[in-house]
Amino acid sequence: MEKTLLSQHLNRLLKDKVLEIVPFGRSSLMTVWIEAKSLLEVSRILKEDPELCLDWLENLSVAQLDQMFAVSYFLRSYRKQNSLVLRLSAVPQNMKSKIKIDSIASFWPMGRPMELEAEDLFGVHFEKTKAEKLEKSEKQKDDRASRDGGDAIREGEFQPKLLPSGWGGYPLRKNYVFPGRQ
Protein backbone atom coordinates (compact mmCIF):
# COMPACT_ATOMS: atom_id res chain seq x y z
CA MET A 1 0.00 0.00 0.00
CA GLU A 2 1.21 3.50 -0.68
CA LYS A 3 2.39 5.69 2.19
CA THR A 4 -0.35 8.34 2.23
CA LEU A 5 -3.09 5.79 1.67
CA LEU A 6 -1.68 3.68 4.48
CA SER A 7 -1.54 6.52 7.00
CA GLN A 8 -5.08 7.60 6.15
CA HIS A 9 -6.31 4.02 6.55
CA LEU A 10 -4.54 3.68 9.91
CA ASN A 11 -5.89 6.95 11.22
CA ARG A 12 -9.38 5.82 10.29
CA LEU A 13 -9.00 2.39 11.92
CA LEU A 14 -7.26 3.31 15.13
CA LYS A 15 -8.68 6.81 15.66
CA ASP A 16 -7.37 8.09 18.97
CA LYS A 17 -4.96 5.31 19.88
CA VAL A 18 -2.31 6.51 17.46
CA LEU A 19 0.14 9.00 18.89
CA GLU A 20 2.14 9.67 15.75
CA ILE A 21 2.92 8.23 12.31
CA VAL A 22 6.46 8.93 11.07
CA PRO A 23 8.73 7.36 8.44
CA PHE A 24 11.23 4.77 9.65
CA GLY A 25 14.74 6.12 9.01
CA ARG A 26 15.29 6.68 5.34
CA SER A 27 13.27 3.72 4.12
CA SER A 28 9.73 3.40 2.88
CA LEU A 29 8.44 1.82 6.09
CA MET A 30 6.07 3.72 8.39
CA THR A 31 6.35 3.76 12.17
CA VAL A 32 3.18 3.91 14.24
CA TRP A 33 3.67 5.10 17.82
CA ILE A 34 1.08 3.91 20.33
CA GLU A 35 0.74 3.78 24.07
CA ALA A 36 1.60 0.66 25.99
CA LYS A 37 -1.86 0.19 27.45
CA SER A 38 -3.60 0.00 24.07
CA LEU A 39 -1.27 -2.63 22.63
CA LEU A 40 -3.67 -5.58 22.69
CA GLU A 41 -6.52 -3.74 21.03
CA VAL A 42 -4.33 -2.28 18.32
CA SER A 43 -2.83 -5.70 17.55
CA ARG A 44 -6.25 -7.24 17.22
CA ILE A 45 -7.42 -4.52 14.89
CA LEU A 46 -4.31 -4.72 12.72
CA LYS A 47 -4.46 -8.46 12.45
CA GLU A 48 -8.13 -8.78 11.62
CA ASP A 49 -8.50 -5.90 9.20
CA PRO A 50 -9.16 -7.45 5.77
CA GLU A 51 -7.23 -4.80 3.88
CA LEU A 52 -4.10 -4.73 6.00
CA CYS A 53 -4.07 -8.38 7.07
CA LEU A 54 -0.84 -8.17 9.08
CA ASP A 55 -0.39 -11.72 10.31
CA TRP A 56 3.36 -12.15 10.36
CA LEU A 57 5.49 -10.70 13.14
CA GLU A 58 8.94 -10.68 11.65
CA ASN A 59 10.99 -9.12 14.42
CA LEU A 60 10.66 -7.74 17.92
CA SER A 61 13.44 -5.47 19.04
CA VAL A 62 14.04 -3.50 22.22
CA ALA A 63 16.40 -0.52 22.28
CA GLN A 64 17.37 1.82 25.08
CA LEU A 65 17.76 5.55 24.52
CA ASP A 66 18.78 7.35 27.74
CA GLN A 67 16.06 6.37 30.22
CA MET A 68 13.45 5.23 27.74
CA PHE A 69 12.98 1.73 26.34
CA ALA A 70 11.50 1.59 22.84
CA VAL A 71 9.89 -1.71 21.80
CA SER A 72 9.44 -2.14 18.05
CA TYR A 73 7.27 -4.74 16.34
CA PHE A 74 8.08 -5.30 12.65
CA LEU A 75 4.84 -6.54 11.06
CA ARG A 76 4.28 -8.00 7.63
CA SER A 77 1.60 -9.74 5.68
CA TYR A 78 1.66 -13.11 3.97
CA ARG A 79 -0.96 -12.41 1.37
CA LYS A 80 -0.53 -8.72 0.62
CA GLN A 81 2.44 -6.43 0.30
CA ASN A 82 1.91 -4.45 3.51
CA SER A 83 4.51 -3.85 6.16
CA LEU A 84 4.56 -1.66 9.21
CA VAL A 85 6.53 -0.91 12.35
CA LEU A 86 4.56 -0.64 15.58
CA ARG A 87 6.32 1.14 18.40
CA LEU A 88 5.77 1.91 22.04
CA SER A 89 7.90 3.37 24.76
CA ALA A 90 8.20 2.43 28.39
CA VAL A 91 10.07 3.92 31.31
CA PRO A 92 10.98 1.84 34.37
CA GLN A 93 10.84 3.19 37.89
CA ASN A 94 14.54 2.81 38.42
CA MET A 95 17.26 1.22 36.43
CA LYS A 96 17.12 -2.08 38.28
CA SER A 97 13.42 -2.85 38.08
CA LYS A 98 11.39 -4.74 35.50
CA ILE A 99 9.01 -3.30 32.96
CA LYS A 100 5.67 -4.98 32.38
CA ILE A 101 4.03 -5.00 28.95
CA ASP A 102 1.21 -7.14 27.59
CA SER A 103 2.18 -10.12 25.49
CA ILE A 104 1.00 -10.43 21.89
CA ALA A 105 1.69 -14.17 21.72
CA SER A 106 -2.01 -14.94 21.32
CA PHE A 107 -2.12 -12.98 18.06
CA TRP A 108 1.35 -13.74 16.71
CA PRO A 109 2.76 -16.97 18.28
CA MET A 110 6.07 -16.53 16.51
CA GLY A 111 6.86 -13.63 18.78
CA ARG A 112 7.00 -15.67 21.99
CA PRO A 113 10.72 -16.67 21.85
CA MET A 114 11.72 -13.10 21.04
CA GLU A 115 9.75 -11.91 24.07
CA LEU A 116 11.51 -14.44 26.29
CA GLU A 117 14.89 -13.25 25.08
CA ALA A 118 14.02 -9.62 25.71
CA GLU A 119 13.02 -10.60 29.22
CA ASP A 120 16.38 -12.22 29.90
CA LEU A 121 18.46 -9.45 28.43
CA PHE A 122 16.53 -6.25 29.11
CA GLY A 123 14.17 -7.02 31.96
CA VAL A 124 11.05 -6.31 29.89
CA HIS A 125 8.47 -8.77 31.16
CA PHE A 126 5.73 -9.67 28.67
CA GLU A 127 2.71 -10.85 30.63
CA LYS A 128 0.16 -13.28 29.34
CA THR A 129 -3.46 -12.35 29.85
CA LYS A 130 -5.49 -14.05 32.56
CA ALA A 131 -7.62 -15.96 30.06
CA GLU A 132 -4.56 -17.56 28.49
CA LYS A 133 -3.13 -18.65 31.82
CA LEU A 134 -6.41 -20.32 32.87
CA GLU A 135 -6.76 -22.14 29.57
CA LYS A 136 -3.25 -23.53 29.80
CA SER A 137 -3.61 -24.86 33.35
CA GLU A 138 -6.87 -26.58 32.46
CA LYS A 139 -5.32 -28.21 29.46
CA GLN A 140 -2.53 -29.62 31.58
CA LYS A 141 -4.90 -31.25 34.05
CA ASP A 142 -6.43 -33.59 31.49
CA ASP A 143 -3.24 -34.45 29.75
CA ARG A 144 -2.01 -37.94 30.50
CA ALA A 145 1.59 -37.01 30.06
CA SER A 146 1.50 -34.66 33.01
CA ARG A 147 0.57 -37.44 35.42
CA ASP A 148 3.99 -38.99 35.37
CA GLY A 149 5.29 -37.31 38.46
CA GLY A 150 8.25 -35.07 38.93
CA ASP A 151 8.32 -31.69 37.28
CA ALA A 152 6.18 -31.68 34.18
CA ILE A 153 7.44 -30.45 30.86
CA ARG A 154 5.40 -27.48 29.88
CA GLU A 155 3.28 -28.30 26.87
CA GLY A 156 5.34 -27.75 23.74
CA GLU A 157 7.63 -24.88 24.55
CA PHE A 158 10.77 -23.54 23.12
CA GLN A 159 12.73 -21.77 25.86
CA PRO A 160 15.70 -19.73 24.72
CA LYS A 161 17.22 -19.28 28.16
CA LEU A 162 20.23 -17.25 27.18
CA LEU A 163 21.59 -16.75 30.68
CA PRO A 164 22.13 -19.39 33.37
CA SER A 165 19.63 -19.27 36.19
CA GLY A 166 20.43 -16.87 38.97
CA TRP A 167 22.19 -14.32 36.83
CA GLY A 168 21.99 -10.91 38.46
CA GLY A 169 21.14 -7.91 36.39
CA TYR A 170 20.05 -7.32 32.84
CA PRO A 171 23.09 -7.39 30.54
CA LEU A 172 21.97 -5.26 27.63
CA ARG A 173 21.00 -2.24 29.72
CA LYS A 174 23.42 0.63 29.52
CA ASN A 175 24.23 0.71 33.22
CA TYR A 176 25.17 -2.97 33.43
CA VAL A 177 28.53 -3.67 35.08
CA PHE A 178 30.31 -6.80 33.89
CA PRO A 179 30.79 -9.43 36.60
CA GLY A 180 34.25 -9.26 38.08
CA ARG A 181 34.79 -5.62 37.17
CA GLN A 182 33.57 -3.34 39.93
Binding site: R26, N59, M110, A145, I153, G156, F158, P160
Partner: protein
Protein backbone atom coordinates in the same frame (compact mmCIF):
# COMPACT_ATOMS: atom_id res chain seq x y z
CA UNK B 1 0.79 -76.96 11.88
CA UNK B 2 3.60 -79.25 10.89
CA UNK B 3 4.19 -78.06 7.40
CA UNK B 4 7.73 -77.72 6.23
CA UNK B 5 8.54 -74.30 4.96
CA UNK B 6 8.46 -74.14 1.20
CA UNK B 7 10.59 -72.04 -1.05
CA UNK B 8 8.16 -71.61 -3.87
CA UNK B 9 8.42 -67.85 -4.02
CA UNK B 10 11.75 -66.42 -5.00
CA UNK B 11 13.72 -64.51 -2.42
CA UNK B 12 13.45 -61.21 -4.25
CA UNK B 13 9.69 -61.16 -3.76
CA UNK B 14 10.13 -61.55 -0.05
CA UNK B 15 9.30 -58.27 1.68
CA UNK B 16 12.57 -58.33 3.54
CA UNK B 17 14.76 -58.58 0.51
CA UNK B 18 17.31 -61.32 0.28
CA UNK B 19 16.65 -63.10 3.54
CA UNK B 20 16.53 -66.84 3.04
CA UNK B 21 13.87 -68.94 4.75
CA UNK B 22 14.97 -70.82 7.80
CA UNK B 23 15.49 -74.50 7.15
CA UNK B 24 14.46 -75.52 10.65
CA UNK B 25 10.86 -75.94 11.63
CA UNK B 26 10.56 -73.65 14.59
CA UNK B 27 7.36 -75.23 15.78
CA UNK B 28 9.26 -78.30 16.91
CA UNK B 29 10.91 -76.29 19.65
CA UNK B 30 7.76 -75.19 21.40
CA UNK B 31 6.80 -76.85 24.70
CA UNK B 32 4.29 -79.67 24.46
CA UNK B 33 1.58 -78.05 26.51
CA UNK B 34 1.72 -74.86 24.58
CA UNK B 35 -1.89 -75.00 23.51
CA UNK B 36 -3.09 -75.64 27.03
CA UNK B 37 -0.97 -72.77 28.25
CA UNK B 38 -2.46 -70.43 25.68
CA UNK B 39 -6.01 -71.31 26.78
CA UNK B 40 -5.13 -70.72 30.40
CA UNK B 41 -3.64 -67.34 29.50
CA UNK B 42 -6.79 -66.38 27.61
CA UNK B 43 -8.96 -67.22 30.63
CA UNK B 44 -6.67 -65.31 32.94
CA UNK B 45 -6.71 -62.24 30.68
CA UNK B 46 -10.48 -62.32 30.52
CA UNK B 47 -10.71 -62.25 34.30
CA UNK B 48 -7.94 -59.75 34.90
CA UNK B 49 -7.71 -57.55 31.84
CA UNK B 50 -4.19 -56.57 30.96
CA UNK B 51 -3.39 -52.96 31.54
CA UNK B 52 -2.55 -51.17 28.37
CA UNK B 53 1.23 -51.42 27.94
CA UNK B 54 1.30 -47.71 27.14
CA UNK B 55 0.82 -46.59 30.73
CA UNK B 56 4.48 -46.11 31.53
CA UNK B 57 6.02 -43.08 29.97
CA UNK B 58 9.74 -42.59 29.81
CA UNK B 59 11.26 -39.20 30.37
CA UNK B 60 14.51 -38.62 28.63
CA UNK B 61 16.70 -35.56 28.64
CA UNK B 62 19.18 -35.37 25.76
CA UNK B 63 21.85 -33.09 27.10
CA UNK B 64 24.01 -30.41 25.60
CA UNK B 65 26.69 -32.65 24.11
CA UNK B 66 25.20 -35.46 22.08
CA UNK B 67 25.87 -36.87 18.66
CA UNK B 68 22.29 -36.75 17.43
CA UNK B 69 21.89 -33.05 18.16
CA UNK B 70 23.15 -30.50 15.66
CA UNK B 71 24.78 -28.35 18.36
CA UNK B 72 24.56 -27.65 22.07
CA UNK B 73 20.94 -27.70 23.13
CA UNK B 74 18.76 -29.67 25.57
CA UNK B 75 15.79 -31.72 24.42
CA UNK B 76 13.37 -32.93 27.08
CA UNK B 77 11.38 -35.82 25.66
CA UNK B 78 8.47 -37.86 26.94
CA UNK B 79 8.45 -41.21 25.18
CA UNK B 80 5.55 -43.57 24.78
CA UNK B 81 7.30 -46.78 23.85
CA UNK B 82 9.29 -45.66 20.85
CA UNK B 83 7.04 -42.83 19.80
CA UNK B 84 7.69 -39.34 21.08
CA UNK B 85 4.64 -37.87 22.70
CA UNK B 86 5.93 -34.54 23.98
CA UNK B 87 8.99 -32.44 23.57
CA UNK B 88 10.50 -29.21 24.80
CA UNK B 89 13.62 -27.45 23.60
CA UNK B 90 16.06 -25.31 25.55
CA UNK B 91 18.93 -23.43 23.96
CA UNK B 92 21.30 -20.78 25.19
CA UNK B 93 24.53 -22.73 25.52
CA UNK B 94 26.27 -20.82 22.76
CA UNK B 95 25.34 -17.34 23.90
CA UNK B 96 28.35 -15.17 23.23
CA UNK B 97 26.93 -11.77 24.07
CA UNK B 98 27.55 -10.57 20.52
CA UNK B 99 25.10 -7.70 20.67
CA UNK B 100 26.64 -6.22 23.80
CA UNK B 101 30.15 -6.66 22.40
CA UNK B 102 29.12 -4.65 19.35
CA UNK B 103 27.91 -1.80 21.53
CA UNK B 104 31.31 -1.55 23.18
CA UNK B 105 33.37 -1.63 19.99
CA UNK B 106 33.91 1.04 17.35
CA UNK B 107 32.01 1.02 14.06
CA UNK B 108 34.91 -0.42 12.09
CA UNK B 109 34.81 -3.68 14.02
CA UNK B 110 31.16 -4.26 13.19
CA UNK B 111 31.98 -6.33 10.10
CA UNK B 112 34.47 -8.81 11.68
CA UNK B 113 32.07 -9.48 14.55
CA UNK B 114 29.10 -9.87 12.23
CA UNK B 115 30.65 -12.74 10.39
CA UNK B 116 30.88 -14.69 13.61
CA UNK B 117 27.12 -14.57 13.88
CA UNK B 118 26.60 -17.57 11.61
CA UNK B 119 30.05 -18.87 10.74
CA UNK B 120 28.96 -21.11 7.91
CA UNK B 121 27.26 -18.30 6.02
CA UNK B 122 29.61 -15.53 7.05
CA UNK B 123 29.02 -13.33 4.02
CA UNK B 124 25.34 -12.93 4.77
CA UNK B 125 26.02 -11.57 8.24
CA UNK B 126 28.38 -8.99 6.81
CA UNK B 127 26.00 -8.18 3.98
CA UNK B 128 23.02 -7.50 6.20
CA UNK B 129 25.07 -5.26 8.48
CA UNK B 130 26.69 -3.31 5.68
CA UNK B 131 23.33 -2.76 3.98
CA UNK B 132 21.84 -1.34 7.17
CA UNK B 133 24.75 1.02 7.82
CA UNK B 134 24.77 2.20 4.22
CA UNK B 135 21.10 3.02 4.57
CA UNK B 136 21.68 5.09 7.69
CA UNK B 137 24.67 6.98 6.35
CA UNK B 138 23.36 7.28 2.76
CA UNK B 139 26.47 5.70 1.24
CA UNK B 140 26.41 4.77 -2.43
CA UNK B 141 27.70 1.36 -3.41
CA UNK B 142 29.25 1.15 -6.89
CA UNK B 143 27.85 -1.44 -9.27
CA UNK B 144 31.01 -3.52 -9.50
CA UNK B 145 31.10 -3.91 -5.72
CA UNK B 146 27.48 -4.99 -5.72
CA UNK B 147 28.10 -7.72 -8.27
CA UNK B 148 31.14 -8.96 -6.33
CA UNK B 149 28.98 -9.15 -3.20
CA UNK B 150 26.38 -11.19 -5.09
CA UNK B 151 29.02 -13.57 -6.45
CA UNK B 152 30.26 -14.20 -2.90
CA UNK B 153 26.68 -14.71 -1.66
CA UNK B 154 25.88 -17.32 -4.26
CA UNK B 155 29.13 -19.18 -3.67
CA UNK B 156 28.34 -19.25 0.05
CA UNK B 157 24.87 -20.53 -0.72
CA UNK B 158 26.30 -23.47 -2.68
CA UNK B 159 28.79 -24.22 0.09
CA UNK B 160 26.08 -24.07 2.77
CA UNK B 161 23.78 -26.44 0.93
CA UNK B 162 26.64 -28.90 0.39
CA UNK B 163 27.35 -28.78 4.11
CA UNK B 164 23.66 -29.49 4.74
CA UNK B 165 24.00 -32.60 2.58
CA UNK B 166 26.95 -33.73 4.68
CA UNK B 167 25.06 -33.33 7.95
CA UNK B 168 21.94 -35.05 6.64
CA UNK B 169 23.94 -37.95 5.24
CA UNK B 170 25.82 -38.38 8.51
CA UNK B 171 22.60 -38.50 10.50
CA UNK B 172 21.14 -41.14 8.20
CA UNK B 173 24.37 -43.09 8.38
CA UNK B 174 25.65 -43.06 4.82
CA UNK B 175 29.24 -41.96 5.00
CA UNK B 176 30.12 -42.46 1.36
CA UNK B 177 28.57 -39.27 0.06
CA UNK B 178 30.20 -37.28 2.89
CA UNK B 179 33.66 -37.59 1.43
CA UNK B 180 32.53 -36.86 -2.11
CA UNK B 181 30.78 -33.67 -1.06
CA UNK B 182 33.57 -32.45 1.20
CA UNK B 183 36.04 -32.86 -1.62
CA UNK B 184 34.00 -30.48 -3.76
CA UNK B 185 33.33 -28.05 -0.97
CA UNK B 186 37.09 -27.62 -0.57
CA UNK B 187 37.24 -26.21 -4.09
CA UNK B 188 34.82 -23.45 -3.13
CA UNK B 189 36.73 -22.65 0.04
CA UNK B 190 39.87 -22.41 -2.06
CA UNK B 191 38.09 -19.77 -4.13
CA UNK B 192 37.34 -17.77 -1.00
CA UNK B 193 40.95 -18.01 0.01
CA UNK B 194 42.06 -16.77 -3.40
CA UNK B 195 39.93 -13.67 -3.11
CA UNK B 196 39.97 -12.78 0.55
CA UNK B 197 42.78 -14.72 2.21
CA UNK B 198 40.65 -16.71 4.62
CA UNK B 199 38.37 -19.71 4.27
CA UNK B 200 35.56 -18.98 6.68
CA UNK B 201 35.45 -15.62 8.41
CA UNK B 202 36.04 -13.49 5.38
CA UNK B 203 36.01 -9.90 6.69
CA UNK B 204 35.82 -8.68 3.12
CA UNK B 205 32.87 -6.29 2.91
CA UNK B 206 33.20 -2.67 3.93
CA UNK B 207 30.74 0.18 4.33
CA UNK B 208 30.34 1.40 0.78
CA UNK B 209 31.77 -1.50 -1.17
CA UNK B 210 34.25 -4.34 -0.79
CA UNK B 211 37.78 -4.34 0.52
CA UNK B 212 39.67 -5.13 -2.66
CA UNK B 213 39.13 -5.87 -6.31
CA UNK B 214 38.87 -9.36 -7.77
CA UNK B 215 42.20 -10.90 -8.66
CA UNK B 216 43.09 -11.86 -12.20
CA UNK B 217 42.08 -15.48 -12.55
CA UNK B 218 39.10 -15.34 -10.21
CA UNK B 219 36.28 -15.07 -12.73
CA UNK B 220 37.60 -17.92 -14.84
CA UNK B 221 37.91 -20.13 -11.79
CA UNK B 222 34.36 -19.36 -10.74
CA UNK B 223 33.12 -20.58 -14.12
CA UNK B 224 35.24 -23.73 -13.80
CA UNK B 225 33.71 -24.48 -10.41
CA UNK B 226 30.24 -23.99 -11.85
CA UNK B 227 30.88 -26.61 -14.52
CA UNK B 228 32.40 -28.98 -11.98
CA UNK B 229 29.49 -28.80 -9.57
CA UNK B 230 26.98 -29.29 -12.34
CA UNK B 231 28.61 -32.61 -13.19
CA UNK B 232 28.90 -33.58 -9.54
CA UNK B 233 25.22 -32.99 -8.86
CA UNK B 234 24.41 -35.84 -11.23
CA UNK B 235 26.91 -38.01 -9.35
CA UNK B 236 25.27 -37.23 -6.01
CA UNK B 237 21.90 -38.16 -7.45
CA UNK B 238 23.25 -41.51 -8.56
CA UNK B 239 24.81 -42.33 -5.21
CA UNK B 240 22.56 -40.79 -2.64
CA UNK B 241 19.38 -38.96 -3.54
CA UNK B 242 17.28 -41.86 -4.78
CA UNK B 243 19.05 -44.50 -2.75
CA UNK B 244 16.72 -47.15 -1.35
CA UNK B 245 17.70 -46.76 2.31
CA UNK B 246 17.66 -42.99 2.20
CA UNK B 247 14.25 -42.77 0.61
CA UNK B 248 12.81 -45.31 2.99
CA UNK B 249 13.95 -43.19 5.91
CA UNK B 250 12.84 -39.87 4.55
CA UNK B 251 9.65 -40.34 2.51
CA UNK B 252 6.67 -39.09 4.45
CA UNK B 253 8.58 -38.37 7.67
CA UNK B 254 8.07 -35.11 9.57
CA UNK B 255 5.81 -33.29 7.16
CA UNK B 256 5.66 -29.54 7.80
CA UNK B 257 2.10 -28.38 7.10
CA UNK B 258 1.40 -24.90 5.80
CA UNK B 259 -0.48 -23.71 8.86
CA UNK B 260 2.44 -24.59 11.13
CA UNK B 261 4.76 -22.65 8.84
CA UNK B 262 2.57 -19.58 8.99
CA UNK B 263 2.14 -19.88 12.73
CA UNK B 264 5.86 -20.10 13.43
CA UNK B 265 7.02 -17.68 10.75
CA UNK B 266 9.33 -20.10 8.97
CA UNK B 267 11.07 -18.83 5.85
CA UNK B 268 13.65 -20.08 3.45
CA UNK B 269 14.00 -23.53 1.85
CA UNK B 270 12.02 -25.17 4.67
CA UNK B 271 8.96 -23.13 3.75
CA UNK B 272 9.48 -23.50 0.03
CA UNK B 273 9.55 -27.27 0.34
CA UNK B 274 5.95 -27.21 1.53
CA UNK B 275 4.77 -25.19 -1.42
CA UNK B 276 4.91 -21.60 -0.18
CA UNK B 277 6.47 -19.32 -2.77
CA UNK B 278 8.44 -16.82 -0.74
CA UNK B 279 11.90 -15.70 -1.77
CA UNK B 280 13.37 -12.33 -0.94
CA UNK B 281 15.54 -12.44 -4.00
CA UNK B 282 12.49 -12.14 -6.21
CA UNK B 283 10.20 -10.03 -4.03
CA UNK B 284 12.62 -7.34 -2.86
CA UNK B 285 14.45 -5.58 -5.71
CA UNK B 286 16.83 -3.76 -3.37
CA UNK B 287 19.00 -6.88 -3.11
CA UNK B 288 20.07 -6.56 -6.75
CA UNK B 289 18.69 -9.74 -8.34
CA UNK B 290 16.20 -7.95 -10.59
CA UNK B 291 18.28 -8.14 -13.75
CA UNK B 292 19.04 -11.83 -13.38
CA UNK B 293 16.85 -14.57 -14.73
CA UNK B 294 16.38 -17.58 -12.46
CA UNK B 295 13.63 -19.70 -10.97
CA UNK B 296 12.72 -20.30 -7.35
CA UNK B 297 12.51 -24.06 -6.67
CA UNK B 298 9.59 -25.23 -4.55
CA UNK B 299 8.71 -28.67 -3.31
CA UNK B 300 6.85 -30.99 -5.65
CA UNK B 301 5.85 -33.78 -3.30
CA UNK B 302 7.21 -36.66 -5.36
CA UNK B 303 6.96 -39.01 -2.43
CA UNK B 304 3.26 -38.42 -1.95
CA UNK B 305 3.62 -36.09 1.04
CA UNK B 306 4.45 -32.45 0.35
CA UNK B 307 6.96 -31.06 2.77
CA UNK B 308 8.70 -34.13 4.13
CA UNK B 309 12.44 -34.52 4.65
CA UNK B 310 13.11 -35.60 1.07
CA UNK B 311 11.39 -32.50 -0.26
CA UNK B 312 13.50 -30.23 1.90
CA UNK B 313 16.61 -31.91 0.63
CA UNK B 314 15.57 -31.76 -3.01
CA UNK B 315 14.71 -28.07 -2.81
CA UNK B 316 18.23 -27.33 -1.65
CA UNK B 317 19.76 -29.43 -4.42
CA UNK B 318 17.74 -27.51 -6.98
CA UNK B 319 18.81 -24.26 -5.39
CA UNK B 320 22.41 -25.24 -5.99
CA UNK B 321 21.55 -25.68 -9.65
CA UNK B 322 19.89 -22.28 -9.78
CA UNK B 323 22.83 -20.62 -8.04
CA UNK B 324 25.09 -21.97 -10.77
CA UNK B 325 22.91 -20.27 -13.39
CA UNK B 326 22.96 -17.03 -11.39
CA UNK B 327 26.75 -17.15 -11.12
CA UNK B 328 27.15 -17.59 -14.85
CA UNK B 329 25.00 -14.54 -15.52
CA UNK B 330 26.77 -12.47 -12.89
CA UNK B 331 30.19 -13.14 -14.38
CA UNK B 332 28.87 -11.82 -17.70
CA UNK B 333 27.38 -8.60 -16.39
CA UNK B 334 30.21 -7.54 -14.04
CA UNK B 335 31.03 -3.95 -15.07
CA UNK B 336 34.34 -2.16 -14.80
CA UNK B 337 34.56 0.52 -12.16
CA UNK B 338 35.40 1.22 -8.54
CA UNK B 339 35.16 -1.39 -5.86
CA UNK B 340 34.87 1.10 -3.00
CA UNK B 341 33.51 4.59 -3.10
CA UNK B 342 35.64 6.10 -0.37
CA UNK B 343 37.92 4.49 2.15
CA UNK B 344 36.64 5.35 5.62
CA UNK B 345 38.92 5.92 8.61
CA UNK B 346 39.03 3.61 11.57
CA UNK B 347 37.21 5.94 13.95
CA UNK B 348 34.32 7.04 11.76
CA UNK B 349 31.07 8.26 13.22
CA UNK B 350 27.86 7.22 11.56
CA UNK B 351 25.10 9.90 11.80
CA UNK B 352 22.01 9.48 13.95
CA UNK B 353 19.30 7.25 12.58
CA UNK B 354 18.16 3.68 12.29
CA UNK B 355 17.59 1.05 9.64
CA UNK B 356 16.29 -2.47 9.22
CA UNK B 357 17.71 -4.56 6.41
CA UNK B 358 16.85 -8.09 5.26
CA UNK B 359 18.74 -10.70 3.28
CA UNK B 360 17.83 -14.14 1.97
CA UNK B 361 20.36 -16.41 3.63
CA UNK B 362 20.54 -20.19 2.95
CA UNK B 363 18.59 -20.85 6.15
CA UNK B 364 15.88 -18.24 5.69
CA UNK B 365 15.27 -14.56 6.19
CA UNK B 366 18.06 -12.79 8.09
CA UNK B 367 17.35 -9.30 9.35
CA UNK B 368 19.30 -6.64 11.22
CA UNK B 369 18.02 -3.61 13.09
CA UNK B 370 20.69 -0.97 13.81
CA UNK B 371 20.16 2.16 15.89
CA UNK B 372 22.83 4.82 15.80
CA UNK B 373 23.10 7.86 18.03
CA UNK B 374 25.94 9.65 16.34
CA UNK B 375 28.77 8.42 18.57
CA UNK B 376 31.71 6.13 17.86
CA UNK B 377 29.89 2.88 18.59
CA UNK B 378 26.42 1.69 17.67
CA UNK B 379 23.62 2.11 20.18
CA UNK B 380 21.87 -1.15 19.37
CA UNK B 381 22.46 -3.94 16.88
CA UNK B 382 19.77 -6.60 16.85
CA UNK B 383 19.76 -9.62 14.56
CA UNK B 384 16.68 -11.48 13.52
CA UNK B 385 17.88 -14.97 12.74
CA UNK B 386 15.91 -17.56 10.75
CA UNK B 387 16.71 -20.43 13.10
CA UNK B 388 14.54 -19.06 15.87
CA UNK B 389 11.39 -19.88 13.90
CA UNK B 390 12.70 -23.31 12.94
CA UNK B 391 13.30 -24.08 16.62
CA UNK B 392 9.80 -22.92 17.50
CA UNK B 393 8.19 -25.56 15.29
CA UNK B 394 10.09 -28.49 16.87
CA UNK B 395 7.75 -29.06 19.87
CA UNK B 396 4.84 -29.36 17.46
CA UNK B 397 6.53 -31.25 14.65
CA UNK B 398 8.26 -34.03 16.55
CA UNK B 399 5.43 -35.59 18.62
CA UNK B 400 4.22 -38.56 16.61
CA UNK B 401 7.57 -39.48 15.08
CA UNK B 402 9.69 -42.30 16.30
CA UNK B 403 12.82 -41.87 18.35
CA UNK B 404 15.03 -43.34 15.65
CA UNK B 405 13.94 -40.64 13.22
CA UNK B 406 14.88 -37.85 15.60
CA UNK B 407 18.46 -37.17 14.38
CA UNK B 408 17.29 -37.15 10.77
CA UNK B 409 14.50 -34.68 11.47
CA UNK B 410 16.80 -32.36 13.39
CA UNK B 411 19.40 -32.47 10.65
CA UNK B 412 16.81 -31.82 7.97
CA UNK B 413 15.60 -28.57 9.51
CA UNK B 414 19.00 -26.92 9.05
CA UNK B 415 19.34 -25.54 12.55
CA UNK B 416 22.16 -23.10 13.18
CA UNK B 417 22.19 -22.87 16.95
CA UNK B 418 25.21 -20.58 16.93
CA UNK B 419 23.16 -17.89 15.23
CA UNK B 420 20.01 -18.48 17.26
CA UNK B 421 21.92 -17.83 20.49
CA UNK B 422 24.09 -15.05 19.11
Amino acid sequence: MSETPTTEHSTSDHPEGNRKESRHNTEDYRPKDYQAGADYLAEYNAEFPLMSPKTDLTRWKIGPFHASLPASMILNLVLDGEVISRCSVETGFLHKGLEKALELSPWSSLVPYADHLDPENAVFGELVVCTAVEEIAALEVPLRARVIRLILSELTRISAHLSYTVRLARSVGSDTIVHYVLRDRERILDLFELLTGSRFSLNFLRFGGVKADVTEGFIERVLEICELIKIRLKEYNDIFTYNFSFTRRTYGVAVLPVDMIQKCGITGPNARASGIILDLRKSSPALGYDRIDFQVPIGRGESGALGDIHDRYLVRLREIGQSIEILKQLTEIIPPGDFLEKKLENDIKIPTGEAYSQVESPRGLLGCHIVSDGSGSPNRVQFRTPTISNLLCIPELIPGTRIEDLPVVLASLDLGIAEADR
